[in-house]
Amino acid sequence: MITCQKFDLRDLNDFLATMWGGRRIKAKPFLYPVNFGAIAGGGTANETLTIAGDSDFVFTSSYVNLINSGGAVVTSVGWTLLITDTGTNEKYMDSAAQVPNYCNDIGNSNANRAFIALPIPRRLARQTTLSLTLENVSGVAVDFATVVLEGLRVWEYSQ
């Protein structure tokens, strides 16, 4: 799931033009946060995210932020994430992905790492509901676990 940088603006515009068949649209950058709260070592948490009802979402990349009981950010090594579209039952990966391979980890202190983006953007229709399952295999408990989906909010003009 690794590409080295955010999508080029022209590539995104080409993607939007193709997906919307050249219809008039308005796109703006947007973030969908998913807050899991505390997760014990070895624990699993599940949350759902529903895309807003007035606009589609073009998902381009994601982030994870794990905060321990001391308030410090910790690495996501040993964590897994599974995303499922509950409407279509489509899984976004064959099995739960290793979080450091899928999300940009705020707790990863390697300054030389590449930015992680999806290999191609994914269009989510308005009101799509996603189920996100975060599993903490690392054994290190956290007080706050947040996954953020980054992308574009896209409105289609009616005329």
Partner: protein, 152 residues
């Protein structure tokens, strides 16, 4: 990590402004959020875009932020349209790059995946909530980086 080439930005502006002649200049707005903010406390500030030109926002930075504020959150709302930049508060390091923290390896996120055009006179509300565990002790600034756009 730049995703915006000059040619792509010009094409974006041509599409937004219907090809009219434009004068574009790099610019940034710096918004002082505060200091001595208690753990878990929230502060709201307002930023007004200049009235005589639009602003194309391409990246956000948090200046003078301590690494311990990785658990802090930010929510930016366009008061003019009522549109939030996110579906709820998001971790500050996700929304804003934190250049001051680079020595400890904090990532340089913050570049928007797509530019956001803010019209002249747009008012933004920026709500910062400090980490639940640590107070904010430094002076925190949020910087909006991009370009001014006006008719040539």
């Amino acid at each position: 990590m730049s995703a915006y080439t000059t040619a792509a930005l010009i094409a974006f502006l041509n599409a937004e402004y219907g090809g009219q002649d434009l004068f574009v200049s790099p610019y940034e707005y710096e918004l002082y959020i505060g200091n001595d903010i208690a753990a878990g406390a929230s502060v709201s500030k307002t930023l007004q875009i200049t009235s005589n030109q639009d602003f194309l926002l391409t990246a956000l930075y948090a200046i003078d932020i301590e690494d311990s504020q990785s658990g802090s959150t930010i929510l930016i709302v366009d008061n003019t349209s009522g549109e939030p930049f996110s579906y709820g508060p998001v971790p500050l390091p996700v929304q804003c790059a934190m250049p001051a923290s680079l020595t400890s390896g904090m990532p340089m996120f913050g570049q928007l995946p797509y530019p956001r055009l803010l019209e002249g006179r747009t008012s933004l509300n920026v709500q910062f909530t400090a980490s639940q565990s640590f107070p904010l002790t430094d002076n925190l600034y949020v910087v909006l980086s991009g370009m001014n756009v006006r008719a040539a």
